[in-house]
Symmetry: C2
Subunit: 168 residues, 2 copies
């Protein structure tokens, strides 16, 4: 079994999150015609923890080390308290691995996508996903997520059933 | 009078907002050493309107038309209900014009900055600023701001005292 990324389309990715790209359906002209605003491509979610801790929404940069392919996928993680967006600060591709919304996903629940240049993504709250999978030289991503108190990380490991991620 | 952009440094920009870049002081190693997280570079603010309207935080893309220089600065705007981040989705520069926190800023209150490749910014809530000033071919910016009901826009015009923005 190998995991081969599919093109990142709105339909295919809808169960997992939003695609952040210049969708012509979302275009609005602003600033006297000087700017196209692609409006409301993703919504940032940040909820209180069970202990009532509010948290806040932060802007961060993740600088990834490009992975070697094939790359062994051994786990996924999710964030129960908030969404998490990854938007490249360069024009280039990156890989995405997500899993179905079961309690403890394994290899049979995985889906892989490849983002084209100009595409970012926003994982919905509680969506299983692999940490950042950079494949190009440009590896800085703006990350928008919840920070603060409360347990906002769960992991599901399947170390003994690792799946190689390849390009088609 | 002309407006000449200064380098975008944390100290100089502090009264107006956050700089979103790979500040080594904010680096944390995550994902088994595969990723550097530059943590909490900016905080997203979204407050309720006077009418109690909550709003939410959205991810958008602004695609700017590069300006011709010198460019006449005739106004600034501000958003009373939330912060607004602009992070380039390309490795390149852009210009920033902000104004001091007075009621109706004019030319004498303006400050200009030039962001280096790899730098974005997050205007604090209620900070006077000019709309997007793209100067390069790459002109897509991720914008993180409050959307929803409530008046989140104020403008200050000084049309008859326009100031030319130039590069040094």
């Amino acid at each position: 079994m190998t995991l081969i990324p599919k093109a990142l389309t709105k339909e295919a990715f809808a169960p997992f999150g939003d695609i952040i790209d210049c969708d012509p359906d979302k275009a609005v002209e602003i600033n006297w015609g000087m700017t196209q605003r692609y409006h409301g491509l993703g919504r940032v979610e940040a909820v209180d923890s069970d202990e009532g801790e509010r948290g806040s929404v932060a802007l961060n940069i993740f600088r990834g080390t490009p992975i070697d392919l094939p790359y062994q996928i051994r786990m996924v993680e999710r964030h129960p308290l908030g969404s998490q967006a990854f938007v490249p600060m360069f024009q280039g591709r990156f890989l995405i691995v997500v899993a179905d919304p079961v309690d403890a996903p394994g290899p049979e629940h995985l889906h892989a996508f490849i983002a084209a240049a100009g595409q970012g993504i926003n994982y919905h709250r509680n969506t299983w996903h692999h940490p950042l999978l950079a494949i190009e030289d440009g590896t800085d991503f703006l990350v928008v997520d919840r920070v603060g108190e409360g347990n906002n990380l769960e992991e599901s490991w399947f170390e003994d059933r690792a799946v190689p991620l390849v390009l088609a």
